[in-house]
Symmetry: C2
Subunit: 358 residues, 2 copies
């Protein structure tokens, strides 16, 4: 049978609880599908800071590199919020992305029929929303140099960053986005601020050039301010969105909130080759950590993405996704997606119910 | 009686129609309040490009500088979209902001009880929303240098911009924001990306330092991705938001769409001294230009902001705002805010109805 090693990075806050559920679901699914999964758990984020003094220990990155895929819980918490930059949990996450060269972040924002009422948007606006945001993840202002603190010519203190894209960076994310759109409804909207920023004009020019290789995909362009509006006004207009690192950070969070089911949404971060990183899009929720209240389904669905995009195990991925839907159909809900008439359960119990449906 | 000169910049698309309505409302209001208003109309945006070859002619900037306030319609259109940067209508707008040093952009996002159904958000989420976004308007990545196109060390083409803030730039917008919050509910949320960007860490440090001068204002901080979510999840949590130029561009558009009444929302751009720029937040809507379909109320309410913030004529400002509400109460609606049971009117007729209520 096929053998894979999965690196588990539980991280902080609710991270350990949700990773524990996803691991059980992966284990059962693997045995039913005849796949041999081995797990190695490594410290990262605040947990790693407390243990080793850095947010991404070398051993963790090395283990991740040598494995077939990485499943991440969540990182960060109030405790480390005031830390200097190189000692922030977030810095560990950026180092992991850079170290594994996972430049393509796929973030689906889908409204499940079972959960349409959870959206703050009117039912007729929210239902049927099915957006895939393809966010560039290892370039742009997140990593651009020069950056830092300095003094201006007239002696004023300044803080600065560089938004920069090289041609190959735009080209490779554009290819992922066109391929993704092609497998969906065939419509790709590239979001930029090309009416003001040179980095965006450059982005647009390269995306347009790549588009000639995908005549079957309909390409459109939208300014980021308008995109932020249109997601609220009429989200169903979008199929696949491609955008830079910082705009993708903002718009994918907005899109996921529009679904109302942020505790349900997985993500995949992929490179040219090598292991991908799979993680829920929600954060570490320190306020409910350790209370068995977290919704583990985004992590379980991230495990499904891991099987599909990370290991090419489509059947196993589908089995997990079907189990999650069946569990929702049987009425089980964690607090964040609870509505009257459904059955309120904690993180562990939700995990057990999913296992029953796998 | 007091005399003021107002520069009118109708601009492109629906600009001339909505400015014409607002001018009539200003004229009547002024005569009732004993104010002497003179108007000078100047070309700008695409209209100026066609006429003079540049998007902001020197004469226009000079006239604006020498006047007491500027009322702008809207700029831009498909016709000029592919122009090079220095020949874009948008570049004229940036030059106007820079030339008049209007660093503080106030953008209210208010849900009027009369129009709560126009929001795509559920009634209980939308009603009562009353947010003021204070956006920094003459700094950050919009104006930062170096910027442009170049080659990287390994010969790759690149496009780049610089996000940069100097201490005095953050301090002065922070003062405007704290003063604004103080006159409202006393809560200020500063939005940044201080977990990743040095420019944001610097921003946060300066805002915190200024906050000691405003012990009566409650200051909080939020990451921009979370803010984009929270505006959808629970917009009523916000009172006043302060943020940088690009985040403000995105979040203020999102916030205004949450109200559902984008055709209703005015804005004010103010400097330390000198004339402010007042304009609706919506765009030039080239698809409905010249068809008498535009909603002139955002421009009329911008004229009210002009009277209040630009000329200190509070009574005249209130008179216009009351007239707009009365016109809505009498049931008149343009297409964008129409709902069954109300009276559909065009741009001109809406203007005439407002005049009746002034
Ligand atoms: C934690 C933070 C550094 C991160 C980002 O900004 O990329 C997060 O918001 C995300 O979207 O994964
Ligand atoms: C037209 C454009 C340059 C402008 C901006 O980005 O500032 C607009 O979106 C705005 O918000 O006033």
């Amino acid at each position: 049978s096929k053998r894979y090693t999965i690196t588990l990075l539980p991280g902080d806050g609710i991270g350990p609880e949700i990773i524990s559920v996803a691991k059980n679901v992966l284990n059962l699914t693997a045995s039913l599908e005849g796949i041999d999964l081995r797990f190695q758990e490594m410290p990262m984020g605040g947990a790693a800071l407390d243990l080793t003094g850095v947010p991404l220990p070398e051993e963790t990155l090395l283990a991740a590199k040598q494995s077939d895929a990485v499943l991440l819980g969540a990182i960060g918490g109030y405790k480390w919020d005031a830390n200097e930059k190189h000692l922030k949990p977030e810095t560990g996450l950026l180092q992991l992305r850079e170290g594994l060269k996972v430049f393509a972040n796929l973030r689906p924002a889908t409204v499940l029929p079972q959960l349409v009422d959870a959206s703050t948007l009117k039912k007729e606006v929210a239902e049927g929303v099915d957006i895939m945001v393809v966010r560039e993840l290892t370039g742009g202002i997140y990593f651009g140099k020069p950056r830092g603190f300095s003094k201006s010519e007239n002696g004023e203190e300044i803080g600065f960053n560089t938004e920069v894209y090289a041609g190959y960076e735009v080209d490779r994310i554009a290819h992922v986005a066109f391929e993704t759109a092609r497998k969906r409804q065939g419509r790709l909207c590239s979001v930029d601020k090309a009416n003001v920023l040179e980095a965006s004009m450059f982005w647009r020019k390269r995306v347009v050039a790549i588009s000639s290789e995908y005549p079957d995909v309909e390409l459109s362009h939208m300014y980021v301010d308008n995109a932020a509006m249109q997601l609220v006004r009429y989200p169903k207009q979008f199929d696949t969105i491609v955008t830079n690192n910082i705009f993708g950070d903002i718009l994918s969070d907005e899109a996921s909130m529009i679904t109302g089911s942020i505790g349900m949404l997985p993500s995949a971060s992929l490179g040219e080759s090598g292991p991908g990183v799979f993680e829920p899009i929600h954060g570490s929720a320190p306020d409910i950590a350790g209370q068995d209240k977290a919704n583990p389904l985004a992590t379980v669905l991230s495990a499904a993405m891991l099987l599909r995009y990370g290991l090419g195990e489509e059947n196993a991925a589908k089995r997990i996704e079907a189990a999650v839907l069946a569990t929702l159909d049987r009425g089980f809900r964690t607090g964040d997606i609870y509505s009257s008439g459904t059955k309120l359960v904690g993180c562990k119990e939700m995990g057990e119910e999913v296992l029953k449906s796998v």
